[in-house]
């Protein structure tokens, strides 16, 4: 059984016991433990079930490459599925649950999939479930979906919060092993701003466990010294427990920090001028039968657990390898007082320092030997030994509790590759390493990433530090800084003999064995699956990956990648580099979605723009409607009122007495300068330059495609200045539109613009009593003579500097008053007070819409949809024929925009006045198009019950509409139709007398 050793453990603090529960069972660990080391220390070898066959799975690795030890953490709003036990720091009171097993981890019905495995080979689902057709969605797929997945999602909203952190660095060093530390030190000494990030909880990487010495002293001493030195430097930032997850374009890098206080996690958004990838290497499993049995672990991981966490994987551990590094594990176990019954070395010639040391310790070494298969029920109880050169004839079975396997190491090239760097195959070390000739490039076209140490394919500890120094100096040089020269510290470790290729163990393993050789532990992909894919023509590496799902599990192929390539290569009679690798995509390790979203949740999800009177509306029954980024009162509900009743009341009161509207959101853009007239003439379809100061004119704006996109009233302020009102949604867009033309097309014109929208609160005072209430406030003569319709004036109203526009969007006598927003609420209050005598009542956007529809005024976004011209809306009068140019003029001359049968604006009256035409209803003529689609001849654009006329009214666009006034057409509605008569769009006060009061 696996257990905790009485002594040792460089990372644990035995004085701090931490309690946690595993599937309800209370267990204990120490501070400094990872969840995985704590589970192993408690003899929890079975930690999960595989994805497809639900086979028992145990911890294989000690880092982010772990494919099996995925668990559910916490509960409720703090529950996290698929948490990786090997990278999760143990915390007191942690609730840990196993996944993907029912009813329990030990007895999981899902294992039937395993017994059926030969029927469920790679891609089987593409070949069956074809009949009967309906069964796929109803029967087959639900079954597959239930079996799939790993953990369950939380059942409620996230209880924690997240945030971003923007950081800039000259050099970002990813990885705090000896190579990364050395690189950071060199870059910092060259005077650069350095950011050093390490995913684990402590510095030094593998150096300590690999018996490395630096300048004759243990690596740990050098690591401590270097870290202290870096911490003392102002220009250096160091961070542990933070993982560089993605290297994007132009030096943009994301990293995820497990924050100690405040947010749960922090997503770092780093801009680095240069990046040193010192991310180490990942050990490869060996491909032998039943290499997935719990208790079979990577040799490096076994070593880590023993040295860092004082965890014994079992009394007897068989080591199987094709390289020297695994001997370190045997030695470490022996030094911990444990037994290594044998080292099975696939290589025939075994010599060199490490094997010698192992021999000297009395560990039996079997050159040329291999594992024919692991044996045991649920977990390893022994290994069947064979010769590597053979086909798997079992020579003996060695009893053991654990198997430490090493198939060599693969550089962690993810960051290099994500950013577009290319790899080259190192035939001597049997690994893909960064090709310095084809690096990721930055905005300047030069290399922006330098790989260092093991990540650069420099595995021997000694050269590793040297390579880090070189990388740090290279980065400094690349940034034009002066790096140190001369000798840096030198690391040393025992020499290692060359690795030998073992892509199948034993090399002649027959299909029966290959069926049981696992490449992808989590997704259950075997050598046979990949071979089958190749045979069926899925031989491109991407095809094979997608067909077999090799490398698509939550470890993203960190363990399985090379093994799969080797099988493909063999099947195609090609070499591994000829096969190439799949693309490395971010993130390096999975990133919490909440962290990607950052702080923007709930109230901070998206800004809501509020006017100066927002608080008053909220306190007075406003039913809110989002309008672009603003919120506006849709209506003001009184106790006991429905929304519809409130809207009707607001309309009637405004037409009969006095209404007041917060119109502050309307865009207000000042256009001034000697060429201002010429400019507004170009922006608007009609002529504005002829407008006299003190007067207003309604104008339309089209895009270059000829379609209407905004409208509003323009007021001539003085000879050089126009104040352009836009729609609420349009103010920012229109202002940007103006600036774009001024800056990029007519930059020689003397015009300045300013968006004054936020400066002014604007209040519409509307209805027969409008003038009376304003006169009550006093300060400005607003008599019809002093201020005629479509005029504006300015002065002081109720002691507040104000501009008053006599314009009407309702057809009633109407004044729009603009005052500095700081005084908006004050004016509103005064108006409400003075208006009380005149039954003043505020109205919202819906009443506004109804009143404008009753008058046949168009609304951008209702009557327009980006494909409607002013001519379609009968606004030809607002389109100048004389101007030789304006935006949209040329486009409106094109064939499709001049078709005589275009849909044009009309009024629509249902024959039954109580029936309201439904929103978006289409008119049909009873014919059918070749495509089988019923031909439409028009549509409803606005439709309301008019409280004023006490009947339904609608506006719509109808083919040749204006030529067909009086005609009755049919609007499709469900199976039936609604009949409506085409009428003039102006339903109310056609003579327009009411606006004169």
């Amino acid at each position: 059984m696996s257990t905790r050793l009485a002594t040792g453990g460089t990372r644990i603090d035995r004085s701090q016991r931490l309690g946690f529960t595993w599937d309800g069972q209370p267990l204990q660990g120490f501070a400094g433990d990872t969840l995985a080391s704590a589970l192993l220390a408690n003899n929890q070898v079975l930690v999960g079930r595989s994805f497809k066959y639900h086979r028992p799975r145990g911890v294989v690795a000690a880092g982010p490459e772990e494919p099996n030890a995925l668990v559910g953490l916490g509960t409720g709003g703090s529950f996290e599925p698929n948490a990786r036990a090997t990278t999760t720091a143990l915390a007191d009171g942690m609730l840990v649950a196993s996944q993907n097993a029912w009813p329990g981890l030990a007895h999981d019905v899902g294992v039937v999939n395993g017994w059926l495995s030969r029927f469920l080979r790679a891609g089987f689902y593409y070949k069956t479930f074809l009949w009967p057709r309906a069964f796929w969605k109803r029967l087959y797929e639900p079954a597959i979906r239930r079996a799939a997945g790993l953990g369950r999602a939380p059942d409620r909203a996230d209880a924690d919060r997240y945030e971003y952190l923007y950081l800039h660095a000259d050099v970002l060093v990813a990885g705090g092993g000896i190579a990364g530390l050395a690189a950071a030190r060199e870059a910092a000494q060259a005077g650069l701003r350095v950011l050093l990030i390490e995913q684990e909880a402590c510095w030094g990487g593998r150096a300590a466990t690999d018996g490395v010495t630096v300048d004759g002293k243990p690596a740990a001493d050098w690591v401590a010294g270097t870290v202290a030195e870096l911490q003392a430097m102002e220009t250096v930032t160091l961070r542990l427990r933070t993982t560089v997850t993605g290297v994007h374009d132009h030096g943009f890098v994301t990293a995820l920090e497990a924050a100690d206080a405040g947010p749960r996690q922090r997503l770092w958004r780093i801009r680095a001028r240069h990046i040193v990838a010192a991310t180490g290497a990942i050990e490869r499993p060996l491909p032998f039968a039943q290499n997935d049995r719990p208790g079979v672990m990577l040799a490096g991981a076994v070593r880590d657990y023993a040295v860092h966490y004082a965890v014994s994987p079992g009394d007897r551990t068989v080591v199987v390898t094709n390289n020297d590094d695994a001997y370190r594990t045997a030695i470490a176990l022996r030094e911990a007082g444990l037994t290594v019954p044998a080292i099975l070395d696939a290589r025939l010639r075994v010599e060199g320092a490490l094997p010698e040391r192992a021999r000297a310790m009395g560990i039996p070494i079997k050159p040329g030997h291999a594992v024919a298969g692991s044996v045991g029920r649920g977990r390893v109880e022994g290994v069947a030994v064979c010769v590597q050169a053979g086909e798997g004839a079992v020579l003996e079975t060695i009893p053991c509790e654990a198997v430490a396997m090493s198939g060599g190491w693969s550089p962690t090239v993810h960051l290099w590759s994500q950013a577009g760097g290319k790899l080259r195959w190192d035939a001597a070390q049997l690994l893909f390493r960064p090709d310095p000739a084809r690096p990721p490039i930055g905005a300047d076209g030069a290399a922006i990433v330098t790989a260092a140490g093991a990540a650069n394919g420099v595995l021997p500890a000694g050269d590793c530090l040297e390579d880090g120094v070189a990388a740090g100096r290279a980065a400094a040089k690349a940034l034009g800084a002066k790096p140190q020269t001369g000798k840096a510290a030198t690391a040393a470790a025992p020499e290692e003999a060359p690795i030998e290729a073992v892509w199948c163990m034993p090399q002649g393993a027959p299909p029966a064995l290959r069926d049981k050789i696992w490449l992808d532990f989590q997704n259950d992909v075997t050598m046979s699956d990949v071979a089958l894919a190749a045979r069926e023509g899925y031989e491109s590496v991407e095809h094979a990956k997608r067909y077999t799902t090799l490398g698509m599990a939550t470890d993203q192929g960190k363990l399985s990648n090379i093994g799969g390539l080797a099988v493909l290569a063999e099947a195609r009679g090609a070499t591994i580099p000829e096969i190439g690798t799949t693309t490395f995509r971010p993130p390096f390790t999975p990133v919490t979605l909440g962290a990607i979203g950052g702080e923007a949740r709930g109230a901070l999800f998206k800004p809501t723009r509020k006017t100066a009177m927002d608080g008053w509306h909220d306190a007075n029954g406003a039913v809110w409607e989002p309008v672009a980024d603003w919120r506006r009162p849709f209506c003001y509900r009184k106790p006991g009122e429905t929304v519809d009743q409130a809207v009707a009341r607001e309309v009637r009161n405004t037409r009969r007495n006095l209404g007041i509207l917060d119109a502050s959101t309307l865009g207000k853009i000042l256009v001034t300068g000697p060429d201002a007239g010429r400019f507004v003439d170009t922006l608007y379809t009609n002529r504005m330059s002829t407008l006299k100061p003190g007067r207003c004119r309604y104008g339309l704006m089209c895009n270059e495609n000829g379609f209407l996109f905004d409208d509003g009233v323009v007021a001539r302020i003085d000879d050089h200045s126009f104040l352009c009102h836009t729609t609420s949604g349009g103010s920012d867009h229109v202002h940007a539109w103006m600036e774009e033309w001024l800056q990029t097309e007519w930059w020689d014109w003397q015009v300045y613009t300013a968006n004054l929208t936020e400066q002014f609160a604007q209040i519409a005072v509307v209805g027969p009593q409008a003038r009376a209430v304003l006169e009550a406030l006093g300060g400005i003569d607003l008599s019809a003579d002093a201020l005629p319709f479509m005029g504006w004036t300015e002065g002081t109203l109720a002691g507040i500097p104000a501009r008053v526009f006599r314009i009407s969007f309702s057809g009633e006598l109407s004044f729009e008053i603009a005052v500095p927003a700081a005084h908006g609420q004050a004016l509103w209050d005064r108006l409400m007070a003075a208006g009380a005598a005149h039954a003043i009542a505020p109205y919202g956007t819906e009443a506004l819409h109804i009143m404008r529809a009753e008058k046949g005024f168009i609304m951008i976004g209702d009557e327009t949809d980006g494909t409607v011209t002013p001519q379609d809306l009968g606004l030809d009068w607002a389109v100048s024929k004389k101007k030789d140019d304006f935006l949209g003029k040329r486009a409106q001359a094109r064939a499709d925009l001049t078709r005589p049968d275009r849909w044009r604006l009309v009024g629509l009256q249902t024959l039954d006045p109580r029936t309201r035409l439904p929103d978006g209803a289409h008119a049909v003529d009873g014919t059918v198009l070749p495509t089988g689609i019923r031909r439409t001849i028009g549509r409803v654009t606005s439709t309301y019950m008019s409280p004023t006329l006490d009947r339904s009214i609608a506006l719509g666009l109808v083919e040749r509409g204006p030529e067909r006034i009086g005609e009755v057409i049919r609007f499709a509605d469900g199976r039936g139709h609604i009949e409506a008569r085409i009428v003039d769009p102006v339903f109310y006060d056609p003579q327009g007398e009411r606006q004169n009061g």
Binding site: R161, E163, Y164, L165, Y166, L167, H168, R193, E234, T237, E257, A259, A261, G262, P263, R266, R269, R271, E599, A600, A603, L604, K606, P607, T608, R609, K610, T611, A612, W630, L670, T672, G673, P674, Q750, Y752, T753, A754, L756, T757, E758, Q759, F760, A761, G799, I800, P801, P820, A821, A822, H823, G824, Q825, A826
Partner: protein, 189 residues
Amino acid sequence: MAEAMTALGGAATEGAIRVAEAPPTGMIALRADLSTRAVGKAVKEATGIALPRALRIETAKDRSVAWMAPDEVLVFCPWEKAAGLAADLSEGLGDTPHLVADMSSARALIDLSGPGWREVLAKGTPVDLAPGAFGPGDFRRTRLGQVAVAIWASGPERAHLICFRSVAGFVFDWLSMAAARDSLPGLWR
């Protein structure tokens, strides 16, 4: 005349730093070709301050002039002096093509005090706020979270944030969250 209401009514909060809306402040937008002598002269005469260099803000007595763009500055002054100052600027510029607008109500001015202001803002802006990169007198228009802001460093432990009035509430809430106690990343000593 009624007293001016700022966007947040002077709201304030204490966390890792202090976040407080400034009292009503005069803000005048001036657009004109800053490279012409006439403009520099007019600004100097009206405010007593020479035009700032790009990305800088200059202060003298109760006034400051911030560089917004090659053809725009934002002038800060006491609330009650804004109207007069705007008139002076316009007058001083005479025939030189220009635009002067009193924007005192259009924006909110939020004061940040405490050494942690850099780290609070670093949670939301792509600007390099490291002490060596952004210091007193620097004025930078950028974004904070999802909204447009201008950041004004007025001292080692003091900065101001300028945003549009309609989103001031959102920005204040954002700052309150970012400045929560014990939530600073501890970057700059």
